[in-house]
Symmetry: C2
Subunit: 520 residues, 2 copies
C-alpha cells in the first residue's frame, strides 16, 4: 500500500521489552551471488517496451564506452540486492570524472521510461535510478542502496574526449531471509500450478528481508494485513518462525497510544510506527498471532501478545452502533481492498466476527475468560443477518446505499456465520451475478480463494487461481504483482505503472493454497 | 589545462625509490570547519545570474521542504572540501525515499545553469552536481566527493505526498595542506595590493592538497608548469617545502620512457603519468628544481633529481636544427600559452636558454661539468639573435611566418640574452605596439609580470598586476581564475564558462611578486 493518513491523537508508545525480543529474533540475511545472463536492449514498441536480446552479458565487457553509450543487463530473474561492477579506462587515464546513470527495473518499461516524465501519485523517489561520479579509475563500484530488479542499465553520461571505459564483472549480492532450497518439492503434476507455486515462492522469498516487507521495491514496510498472508505462505514453505515472531513483537511493540496498533511499521534502524490505523488490519493482527500459534504452539509468545490482541477486540467493539453493526465512515478507516468504490462496513463487521473467533480460541489456550467476546460474536452475527443480509438479492449489503460487493460476500463467508453449503451457494451466486464492485488487489483475491476453499469449492478455487495468477505468468511475471487486472494489464492505482511493485508479497499466496489444499 | 594528447611511444617508467620518497613527504591535510553564512537565491538577470540575499543561513533550517523546494547557501568565500548536513522528516515518517539534487558552484552561474544544457569541450563530469536518495530519515548526509565551491544548492526532487523535510547543520570540512594562519602580514599599505595578495594566498591554499593541484574544481592535477608558479608563491608564503619535494619526486618518478617527463601527473591513490609531453614543461622542471634549491639548499634532493633534469636538457637539445634553432611543429608540442594563434618556436628557444642557465647553476652546486650546456646556451643565444631577432620591427619573431607575439618577447627577456636596459626598452615597445598575438592565460601573464620586474620596470609591473588581477577582484573573485580576459569576462576556451575553473593556481602568483619585490 502506498498511502498513509494521519491520526490526530497519535502518540507513539514503545514497549522496549517487545522491541528487545524483536531484535533478538532478527533474521539472518542469506547472501547469494547473482550475475547478468544477457545483454538486452529495451525498445519502444507502439506504447510498450519490449526486450530485444543482444548477446551474452559477458560479451559486453569488451565494449569501449563513451559519452551516451549504454548497456542493459538482464539478470534472468527477479533479485533483491546490492549491485557492484568494475570500471576501467581505455586509451588514456581518466582525466575527468566519469559520470554514470544507473537504472534498475523489475519490468522493462521501468528502464524505458524517463523519471522526468513520471507524473504519478506516489513519490518519484521510488524510481530506481542513480547518478554517480567516479573520480578515479580503475574503480570497483558498489552501489550502497538495495534494489529490486531483473534489468540493470548503465548509461555513460560522460567520460571525456580522451578516454573510454569498459564495464566488467557486473554482479548482484542478492539478499533474503528465506532459503528457497529448503522448500519441499511439490508432488502434484499440474504444470501450471507448479509454475504458479515457483513464482509464488520466489515472490515471498524476495519480500522476506529484515522483516516481512510488502514489496522490496516499494514500500518495503511491515504491514499487518500483508504479514498475515506472508506468514501463511511461510508456514507452508520456508517455516521461518523467528521472522514471524520478530514481526509480531515489532508491531506490538510500537503502538499509537491507548494500545492501538499501527497498520504498518517503518522497519528502519530505529523502527517507527506509522500514523495509519486501519480497523481491519488491527483485527487481523489477531489472525497473525492465531496462525502463529496454530503452526508453532509457542505459548510463551502468545502469552506476551495476549494483552495486545485483547485490546484490539476492545477498541474494535467500541465501533458497534446500538444495533451491533460496525459504524460506517467516509474516511480511510478500514482497508479491505484498494477500491474507492467499495463500502467497507459489511466487510468490517465480518472481519470482526472472523478475528474475534480466533481471539476466543487463543483465550482458551491462555485459560482466559472470553465469554464477553463470545456474546459479542453472537450479537454481531445476529445483527449481520438482521441488518446486512438482503434476502431479496441473496447477498450481504453494506452502508447506507446497501452496496453489494464481492468483498462483503467473501468476508461473510470467511466469518463462518452461515453453514458451509449456504456459503458455497453464496459464492457461486456471487461469481454468477458478478456484482459491479469487484476485487482490485491480489490481497482480496487471496481471501476470495480462501472463501472458495472454506466453502468446499476446490475446483472453483483452482480455476480462479489459474485465471488470476496464471494470467500474470502469461504476462511474463518473475514474481507476482502488487496490482493486477487480467482485463487491463497496465492499470496502476497510482497513475503510472513504473511505480507499481512487480514483486509484492500479498500477491504470493498461491503457494499456501497449493501446498495446504492441493498438494496432498 | 584541460586537454591531453597521446604520445605514441609512451611507455610508463616508474622509479619506485622516488615514489617512496614522494609518499614519505605526503602532505598533512589540515581540516577546518566552514559553515554557510547566508541563504541566497540565484536569479537570471538578462544573460547573467545574480545573487539575491534572502537571509541568514540558519533561518533556512526552519523551512518545511517538499517536492521542488530548493535552498541555496552562500558560504561567503571559496572552500575546497566535503559537505555534510542533516535531514529530518516533518509531519509523518518518510514513507518513500527522499530524492535530492545537490549542486556546488564556485560562481553563481554554475548553480543557475542546467547540466543538461552544457555543450562545452570538456567533460560534463566536472560539473559539481549530485543526485542522492535517502532511504531512512532522519539522516546525516556526508557527500563522499570533494567539491570546490562557495555556493551549495539543495533541490528536493521528491519527498512523498505525506512528509516534508527540513535541512539543518549544513557544514563543510574544508581541506588544504596550506596553513594560511602562518603567512606573514604585509607591511605595505596599498589597499588594492593587500586585497590582491589576500585572494592570491587563498587561491594557492585552495590548490595545495595532496599535491599542488592546478585547480581544485578542475582538473585537480599536478602539472609541471603550474607547479613552478605554485612553488614560487609557496616559498614566499606557506613555506611548505615538503609538498614541493613530494611533487618533484612524483614527477621524476613517473616518466614516459627514455627519461622523458610527463607534463602532468594524475595524483590518484596510484599516481599515473599523463601521456602528454610538452617541450616547455619538461624544461621548466629544471626551474622547479632550481627554485627549490635556492629556497632550501637541500642538496640531497638535487642530487637525486640531477639525472632527471640533465636528461631534459639532452632531450630538448635534440630539437635544435642545423642553425641551433628549436624546430617548429604544428602539433601540441609546447604549451607557452592557451592560444591557438601563437607560434611557439621563439618561446621554446628562449625557454631552453632560460632553463639551461638554471641547469648550469645546479651543475655547479653538484660539482658536475656543464661546459657542453654552456656552449649550447651560447650557440642558441647567438642563433636567436641571428634568426629570430627582427631588427626592423625591434621584436623577436617566431615560425615560418615570423610571427610577433607577446609571448616571444616575454620569454626572450626572461632568457636574459639581452642587457637589462634593452629588455626594458623591448617590454615598453611591446606594450606600446601591442602585437595582435597577445596573452590569454594568467600563466603567461605571470611571466609577463616577471619580465617587467626582471627589466627593472617595477612601476609597469604593479600597474599590470592591478589591471589584470584587480579586474578579477572587481568581478567579485574569491580566488583567481583559470582564464580571464578583462575585456571579455565570459570567455571560456572550452565553449562554456560553467566548466572554467575559478580557483586556479597559475593565477595566484601576485603574492609572489608583492612579497618578493614590493613588500620590503
Amino acid at each position: 500500500m502506498g498511502f498513509t493518513n494521519s491520526v490526530p491523537g497519535f502518540k507513539a508508545e514503545i514497549n522496549n521489552d517487545f522491541l528487545k525480543k524483536a531484535e533478538k529474533y532478527r533474521a539472518g540475511i542469506i547472501k547469494r551471488d547473482a550475475y547478468p545472463l544477457d545483454e538486452v536492449e529495451i525498445i519502444k514498441n507502439n506504447n510498450d517496451w519490449t526486450v530485444k536480446p543482444i548477446g551474452p552479458a559477458k560479451a559486453a565487457e569488451q565494449y569501449r564506452m563513451q559519452k551516451d553509450s549504454k548497456v542493459c543487463f538482464d539478470f534472468g530473474n527477479h533479485y533483491v540486492g546490492y549491485a557492484d561492477f568494475n570500471v576501467n579506462y581505455i586509451n588514456s587515464p581518466s582525466d575527468a570524472p566519469l559520470h554514470l546513470k544507473i537504472k534498475f527495473g523489475e519490468k522493462p518499461f521501468e528502464i524505458g521510461e524517463n523519471r522526468e516524465d513520471y507524473d504519478g501519485l506516489l513519490s518519484s523517489g521510488w524510481i530506481q535510478e542513480e547518478y554517480i561520479h567516479v573520480d578515479d579509475l580503475p574503480a570497483h563500484i558498489e552501489l550502497p542502496r538495495r534494489y529490486a530488479f531483473r534489468y540493470m542499465q548503465i548509461v555513460v553520461l560522460d567520460t571525456s574526449p580522451c578516454y573510454s571505459i569498459n564495464i566488467t564483472d557486473v554482479h548482484c549480492t542478492s539478499v533474503s531471509s528465506a532459503d528457497i532450497s529448503t522448500v519441499a518439492e511439490l508432488s502434484l503434476t499440474d504444470k501450471e500450478l507448479i509454475d504458479i507455486d515457483r513464482v509464488s515462492v520466489r515472490t515471498m522469498a524476495e519480500c522476506m528481508q529484515d522483516v516481512f516487507e510488502d514489496g522490496p521495491k516499494r514500500d518495503r514496510r511491515l504491514w499487518i494485513g500483508d504479514l498475515r498472508l506472508q506468514s501463511l505462505v511461510n508456514y507452508e514453505t520456508f517455516k521461518n518462525y523467528a521472522l514471524v515472531k520478530r514481526c509480531l513483537y515489532l508491531i506490538a511493540g510500537l503502538t499509537q497510544g491507548d494500545g492501538r496498533l499501527a497498520a504498518c511499521i517503518f522497519s528502519k534502524a530505529d523502527p517507527i510506527a506509522s500514523k495509519v490505523n486501519l480497523f481491519d488490519y488491527s483485527l487481523l493482527f489477531i489472525s497473525c498471532v492465531y496462525d502463529y500459534y496454530v503452526n508453532t504452539k509457542d505459548t510463551d509468545t502468545i502469552k506476551d501478545l495476549f494483552p495486545t490482541i485483547k485490546r484490539q477486540i476492545e477498541i474494535a467493539s467500541q465501533r458497534f452502533d446500538e444495533n451491533y453493526i460496525i459504524r460506517d465512515s467516509s474516511d480511510w478507516w478500514c482497508f479491505v481492498d484498494w477500491n474507492d468504490d467499495l463500502n467497507k462496513q459489511a466487510s468490517a463487521q465480518a472481519i470482526f466476527i472472523y478475528t474475534a473467533k480466533q481471539y476466543v480460541e487463543l483465550s482458551k489456550v491462555m485459560g482466559e475468560d472470553s465469554s464477553e467476546t463470545v456474546r459479542m460474536i453472537e450479537n454481531a452475527a445476529d445483527a449481520s443477518m438482521k441488518y446486512l443480509w438482503d434476502n431479496e438479492s441473496g447477498f450481504f449489503v453494506s452502508g447506507n446505499d446497501r452496496q453489494i460487493s464481492w468483498a462483503s460476500q467473501i468476508w461473510f463467508v470467511l466469518s463462518g456465520i452461515l453453514p458451509v453449503e449456504e456459503n458455497a451457494r453464496l459464492m457461486l451466486r456471487m461469481i454468477e451475478t458478478n456484482p459491479a464492485v469487484g476485487i482490485v488487489t491480489p490481497y482480496t483475491y487471496h481471501y476470495f480463494i480462501q472463501a472458495l476453499f472454506d466453502s468446499g469449492l476446490k475446483k472453483e478455487a483452482v480455476k480462479h487461481i489459474k485465471y488470476y495468477w496464471g494470467a500474470m505468468l502469461a504476462d511474463g511475471a518473475d514474481c507476482f504483482y502488487e496490482v493486477f487486472n487480467p482485463e487491463n494489464k497496465d492499470f496502476s492505482p497510482y497513475g503510472s505503472r513504473v511505480i507499481n511493485s512487480y514483486c509484492h508479497s500479498w500477491s504470493g499466496t498461491p503457494s499456501y493454497f497449493i501446498r495446504r489444499y492441493l498438494d496432498k
